[in-house]
């Protein structure tokens, strides 16, 4: 009922662990699998080892969750030794990569491809990186990065993760598609800030952070809806998906699969199972046999 085909990858259900949450080790991937996810996206890796920002790096209140972790990671070379391969785990694994310069993206993609992930996701949209003009904000830069990764990824499908912090997300998605992207992941976090009025300082050590959680969902649904109008490649709809109804909404906006990250904070590690159960209940009640029947239906 929930199984989907994403760029030829057969997923038992459309829920995918979004990058940046828990996907650091093989054992955590298997644990997310046990909790019902259809696939897991690893925490982003680049060409070097990075410590990330000082704490506090994340906090939440009500429907808002902030993070400015600063892309800590062991680097692709350590990951090669740590993971050895990614195609023998209990569920499909998506390798998230980034770099500082265009050629870094290619180098990391080539090494990531040697681990045989089901898919490679290009993180051009982390809001806490200082690489001059961000790749996510310029269609030409997005296209250049996409081509560089495609040239180094072999047959492994490539998804480009976009940022909502742009004037027109459609033109960025179109640029990625034209450059050969096999899918779009939308969206990364939206930037924001919280100031502790007793400490009289921003709470995050990085001051500015990315907002996720239910507060991000309407922005994500809008972006997925707009991207679906502009491109033909599948979309991994990510941002604020916490309940089954959120996932159904994403599919109606045009998503093929849905990313869940901060949902773990709100509902526990088994949020994947909970969301899938809730989707099935809704589908049975509404006599929907598979997700194809409602994909993009909000556009009609």
């Amino acid at each position: 009922m929930l199984n989907v085909n994403l760029c030829g990858i057969k997923l038992r259900n459309p829920t995918i662990l979004a990058s940046g949450i828990l996907g650091v080790t093989k054992e955590s991937v298997n644990r997310i699998g046990k909790n019902g996810a259809g696939a897991v996206t690893l925490k982003s890796l680049c060409h070097e080892e990075r410590k990330g920002n000082a704490n506090p790096t994340m906090f939440g209140y009500d429907d808002v969750f902030f993070n400015a972790v600063g892309l800590p990671g062991q680097g692709i070379d350590n990951a090669l030794k740590d993971f050895k391969t990614l195609n023998n785990l209990s569920i499909p694994v998506i390798g998230s990569i980034y770099g500082y310069r265009i050629e870094h993206f290619g180098q990391v993609a080539k090494k990531m491809a040697s681990l045989r992930p089901a898919m490679i996701e290009i993180d051009i949209s982390c809001p806490h990186m200082d690489y001059g003009k961000p790749y996510y904000a310029d269609p030409e830069l997005t296209a250049k990065v996409t081509r560089e990764v495609k040239n180094n990824a072999g047959k492994i499908p490539v998804s480009v993760k976009l940022s909502p912090n742009v004037y027109d997300i459609k033109e960025i998605a179109v640029a990625a598609e034209k450059a050969g992207a096999d899918a779009i992941t939308a969206i990364n976090t939206a930037t924001g800030m919280a100031i502790d009025i007793d400490a009289r300082k921003p709470v995050l050590a990085n001051k500015i952070g990315g907002i996720s959680g239910p507060a991000l969902k309407p922005i994500a649904v809008r972006c997925v809806y707009e991207i679906h109008e502009a491109v033909k490649i599948p979309i991994i709809g990510t941002g604020g998906v916490t309940y089954g109804k959120d996932a159904i909404e994403m599919v109606m906006a045009g998503a093929t699969a849905v990313g869940i990250g901060t949902g773990i904070y709100y509902r526990g590690l088994d949020v994947f199972k909970k969301v899938c159960d809730e989707m099935e209940v809704w589908m049975k009640k509404n006599r929907i046999k598979n997700l194809e029947e409602i994909r993009g239906i909000a556009h009609k």
Binding site: V24, N30, G60, Y61, P72, D196, A199, I264, G268
Partner: protein, 270 residues
């Protein structure tokens, strides 16, 4: 089985330090007014604005106050050490699971790790305490536990036995069949030895494990030890869990997520 909690707040609460107690060499307890709803083994996240935020075990509690005890090891704890009564810092929590409370217990503590088992000691009925530190000056809470059964070891022999807590534990267990439960917190190498000794005597053990933390509620993945998330599944693990954890006593994840030897981990983070 897993939590389902949709209205949470994890913002640090700014609180005033109302008392600072010098406990021992480079070790201080910081007291705050108010009741904290926690169990033995749990921790709070301590935020020093502009510096960092780190986990600290709750080392004292009663109806009106609670405290944590810190030892100077690096930048964060050096800054903490300079704070005085009236200074304000951020606190959030408590987080993590807790020790079970069982009879006929022995508590093995090493160094400032004693602060993670202090509220446990307060909650146990007549526990035997085996406590070790580098020198006499590093031993803390001696007055607090003056009425408890306590065996002491120091590395240099300046107080109690010259040697290690694990030597004392071995002696106790070889003579005393009454002990049914061993709780431990201290350097991981010591805790691993404690676990091995308990295994050989078929005695249940619980250890409080330390790893680099960020979120403290099981989201970021920084504190993984094998498939366990220390901040949420732990920090207290039982013999069965510890025995199924090849990384315990051997490896830890650095801030970058890279798996390194415990030795390297401590040289990076202290």
């Amino acid at each position: 089985m897993e939590k389902d909690n949709c209205c949470r707040t994890e913002i640090p609460k700014i609180m005033e330090i109302f008392k600072v107690v010098n406990e021992g060499k480079g070790q201080k307890s910081f007291f705050f007014k108010g009741k904290i709803d926690s169990k033995p083994g749990q921790f709070v996240m301590v935020w020093l604005p502009d510096v960092d935020e780190k986990p600290m075990a709750i080392s004292y509690w009663n109806k009106n106050e609670f405290a944590f005890t810190s030892q100077v090891v690096g930048k964060f704890t050096t800054y903490l050490d300079s704070l005085k009564k009236g200074d304000k810092i951020g606190i959030r929590g408590p987080y993590g699971n807790n020790f079970s409370i069982k009879g006929n217990a022995c508590v093995v503590a090493g160094g400032v790790g004693v602060s993670s088992v202090s509220t446990l000691i307060d909650s146990l009925k007549n526990p035997l305490i085996i406590y070790g530190a580098r020198t006499k000056q590093h031993l803390i809470y001696l007055k607090r536990y003056k009425n408890k059964k306590m065996l002491i070891a120091t590395d240099d022999g300046s107080h109690g036995r010259k040697g290690y807590t694990t030597d004392l534990l071995n002696e106790v267990l070889s003579k005393n069949s009454k002990i049914k439960m061993v709780y431990t917190c201290g350097p991981e190498i010591m805790m691993k030895k404690v676990l091995d000794i308990c295994n050989s005597y078929k005695i249940e053990c619980e250890a409080s494990v330390e790893r680099m933390m960020k979120c403290a509620y099981g989201v970021c993945g920084a504190c993984m030890i094998n498939d366990k998330i220390v901040c949420m599944d732990g920090p207290v693990f039982n013999s069965k869990q510890l025995n199924a954890m090849p990384e315990f006593g051997s490896f830890a994840r650095a801030k970058t997520g890279k798996r390194v030897s415990l030795h390297e981990y401590h040289s990076i983070h202290s």
